[in-house]
Subunit: 299 residues, 2 copies
């Protein structure tokens, strides 16, 4: 039998989801996109998301725990932004090894509360469970958000010919940026209010991993210009492709609207790069990317 490593994250998830019965008719989006999308009101969908960060994988014991707490919440805010939505309510589940001090956990909670408040959201509950050493600290976030039905954007709706854009710069996040990034909520609201994005997701596992996911979800392919990638200072295109934890928006735009976007963006977001990196093609004409972050390959 193949190990989890050999199967890889995407195949493990596929095999597990195959155990579920058919999705109910009122589910707008089920497993596979950034968030589940379920009925809420006449004009809004509700977004549901869970996300775990674990000591040794997403942060180290020596970090400033206030920054770790910020990151735990900001990752989910970024997931909601990736669909045009806003976060609302958070629940926090922690499994705590006995070696942790109450001071470290209080700092963690302060960071989480700061990030929630900065996005007009609230932590409203959770659960704590003790685990025996030498287990790592685990923080699992669950959140609800809302998105206007007119602003919902999925990763599965890119079309052949669409132009591929990314916000900001990529690479080198592990030097520190991964702990105190500002999720692209304003940018996402603007893009979806103006109906620019035909498909969108946030870059958490690296462009080399996430762009193929967007393409696969949309049943299309892509061609990108690696020399066009906007790299953070001191980063190579290889790092920009593979490092991950960028939390920038990756989105596609209909070719008829790409020029309008490029004209309006600098007025709306001066100083924030917007880069056209390529375009969507038929599946069988796609270039291949390998790399990025596999949650089972690097435990």
């Amino acid at each position: 039998m193949k190990s989890m490593h050999e199967l890889g994250e995407d195949e493990v998830v596929r095999r597990l989801l195959a155990q579920l019965p058919p999705a109910p008719h009122d589910l707008r989006v089920g497993p596979g996109d950034d968030c589940a999308v379920v009925p809420f009101s006449r004009t809004q969908w509700q977004l549901l998301k869970t996300d775990a960060i674990i000591e040794g994988v997403h942060f180290l014991r020596g970090e400033n725990f206030r920054r770790v707490g910020w990151k735990a919440i900001a990752r989910v805010v970024s997931d909601f932004a990736a669909m045009g939505g806003m976060a609302r309510w958070f629940l926090v589940t922690m499994s705590i090894p006995p070696s942790y001090t109450i001071d470290e956990l209080e700092a963690l909670y302060q960071g989480m509360a700061d990030c929630a408040a900065a996005h007009q959201a609230s932590i409203v509950g959770g659960e704590t469970t003790g685990v025996s050493s030498p287990a790592p600290l685990g923080i699992s976030i669950a959140a609800t958000g809302v998105v206007k039905k007119s602003q919902l954007v999925l990763r599965s709706t890119a079309q052949r010919g669409d132009v591929i854009f990314i916000t900001g710069k990529l690479g080198g996040s592990l030097a520190g940026r991964h702990l105190d990034f500002l999720p692209r909520v304003r940018e996402s609201q603007w893009l979806t209010q103006h109906r620019f994005a035909t498909a969108m997701m946030d870059l958490s596992d690296g462009l080399a991993k996430d762009l193929p996911r967007l393409a696969m979800a949309s049943s299309v392919g892509f061609q990108i210009d690696l020399s066009a990638l906007p790299c953070h200072d001191g980063c190579s295109p290889h790092q920009a492709l593979n490092d991950g934890e960028d939390y920038e928006l990756l989105f596609t735009v209909s070719p008829s609207r790409a020029r309008s976007l490029q004209r309006k963006w600098p007025l709306a977001f001066p100083g924030i790069p917007l880069t056209c990196i390529g375009h969507i093609v038929e599946k069988d004409q796609s270039m291949q990317l390998r790399g990025g972050w596999d949650h089972f390959a690097h435990p």
Copy 2:
């Protein structure tokens, strides 16, 4: 500085919640009850809950994983029932050590899907993360549910003079019952539709731990008759008090309605015991109970 063990679970939670800003005005119930209660529609509240179960604490590696999956979902269904509500959408986060096989995880997912379907609920997403050995398997469940505003019952609304009831029998759950119990959803719906329960919670950490929590949340005390506790076959009253994982309903009833409840219950639920175990008194006249399950004392 005191360790997490010395502080105890309730004090750790209190210290962490003190880091949060004041609750927003539209939050009906925040941290501290079984679930958070947030706005949903004109006639319904939404219930939000997370719950983690961890290998070595809540189940052992050798268990039938289909039963472990059932338990993971059923615990949350029970939490919703404890407030008069029903589960709707589930998200599942797993942190998976490399030693687990895909077969074990598939069985786990089947058990979760079975339990969700049995309660007209669905698993709609989640996240998997690899962790390095020797970490335990961690399963974190997040769920939303709904409760009619007219049926919401909290643990914080017991009144002096109320009569204390429990459903079913207590004790000895670890012999196996903790893995395939049926949450008391029908009973909860009936109790709340008929407005019998003045306060309610489910028994997960043992009566000795949970009854004082209900009393503290309600700012009251209790007197119970230990010889009246309905014990599972072969269990002592000590086990009934302390074992935990009973997933029965603990609730209070106004004295003027207790007799009506005792008359109607056997007709509605033949074969399911309903036991009056005592009554609510002023805080300073309370008896004391010690014991039950502390998540930091037994990691």
